[in-house]
Symmetry: C3
Subunit: 220 residues, 3 copies
């Protein structure tokens, strides 16, 4: 079970480190800036979770493998950027896998530290979206994780399944597969079939105050 | 006294969660993005305080009522946005009340955890402005809490009154009412009578580097 | 040795608090906003380090001298802004000294808390760049620490020298002088002689998505 957690955590770290490195390359940061943003995107979700549940020092600080995996992802992205960029649309799927990994890992670890079921599910979501949030804030964008369809919700749903499976005394591996599957499936429906949640329509009077910069929805 | 703290904390959470949800609706986030920003704006100030004083896991994570209150505020804002938006000017007063609640709650809790008086006052300020800071950073704005008149100062003054009352061995309720009153009064004078602090005038040579986007001061 | 750490920490805090205050003045924040940004820029690097290594409450919260030094730096900048601004180019050197102080202090403190050598070096870097990151994010800029040449790398190299000296059982003072010297020297070569790291060249197809706002590299 600690091995399951480690695999999920490192898998999610690798995926998000790639996404951080791609954003860094696109903003013309030098190779070290790419590595820093890869580490931030890949680990800040897990670090936030660990600080909130009192697991100090956080795994990403205490265990070298996290920074190793992040650095590897950063270097791959930097040196093969044209190649990684060509797979950009595939990145959405890759990112959905990383989100599923992190949502499951976050919920499992929070449960292991004795948090209540609801809070364990919320911490799964925080683990999943934390790194991407910081990545986008650092390059002055409104976080994709807040704007992409069914993104934070998919993380919460996946984490919720893990917690429910735990309450039903199912094995952690079954919980992880089911939770990760639900998270990935929701993102799949959002990306492929346009599933989305409603948006409140601001009244006409405030329409002119709407933000001027509208990014494309899944844009990174 | 724990009940006083809980009431103040939850009251502040509700108010700031509404402000976070309104910003999210104005940026066209979907309903789940609205809930996430409501939670962030309503709880990050208190979570930061709790991490800094070593109260782990933070109350907003350990106690379901915080996320419940945040979700309620987010849903109200989402479904009655035209109505809540119509009360937008009243929101400034509402926000001043929330700031007073958080400043007092932050100072009281820091004192209860044995921090020095000066630091308890500073933590009251951090509790008051932390959530609003993250709210604005997440939508790529310069935080209102740094630009609005007498905002952070009002929080610090209110928290300072709480700490002074504590040193004079007054009851926590008296301290809370006096501190909250001072915080609210300062914001009242800023909003209604234009009280403000001086701004340094940059020399002509650097005027052209001044930031190009100037938001209206109390604008959200 | 605790005195060495305190001197380095407070020195770095003073320098970064000045840089935070200058950014605040340039964005026309009032005097209290200047003080808040001075505190944030001067202390968030150290606070992050302390949270990550479990030194709670962080030194910047438990020890009044940190906020005192930050407030002093903020007031000096506010009242003598034309003068401090005239020395703006010298600020780059001053900033390099602060970075060296923080990188060394961060590594020393992480070692004292029993972290592994690699992680102690990384925490030295986090201490050095954390405050500047938040400073720039709060005014909606892409952090200079990610874009300036050899910035985060200089911090990591300096911290790495400290850690290596520690492994060789050299005295902390020797380690601090050597590590700080390396950090400063790298920034010196970047500023004076244009040393820099490679940037990945995005393929033509994505060139049009390149960020539209390109700031001058060392611009603050």
């Amino acid at each position: 079970m600690p091995i399951l957690l480690l695999v999920l955590d490192l898998g999610g770290t690798f995926v998000f480190a790639i996404s951080g490195a791609m954003v860094a390359v696109r903003h013309r940061l030098d190779i070290f800036g790419v590595l820093v943003l890869a580490f931030a995107a890949g680990n800040v979700g897990g670090i936030t979770r660990d600080l909130l549940i009192g697991a100090v020092p956080p795994a990403a600080i205490a265990d070298l493998r996290y920074s190793g995996v992040s650095a590897l992802a950063g270097l791959i992205t930097f040196f093969w950027y044209p190649a990684t960029n060509r797979f950009r649309n595939d990145m959405l799927w890759f990112d959905a896998v990383g989100l599923a990994f992190f949502a499951v890992a976050g919920a499992e670890k929070a449960l292991a530290y004795g948090l209540s079921p609801v809070m364990a599910a919320l911490l799964g979501m925080v683990t999943g979206i934390g790194g991407g949030m910081l990545r986008d804030v650092l390059v002055s964008d409104i976080p994709t994780v807040l704007r992409a369809d069914l993104y934070a919700l998919a993380a919460l749903a996946g984490a919720g399944v893990v917690v429910s499976a735990h309450l039903l005394h199912l094995s952690p591996v079954v919980a992880a597969v089911a939770g990760g599957g639900v998270c990935f499936a929701l993102r799949f429906m959002a990306i492929r079939h346009g599933w989305h949640l409603p948006v409140a329509r601001p009244p006409p009077a405030t329409a002119s105050e709407a933000p001027h910069h509208r990014h494309d929805d899944e844009g990174n």
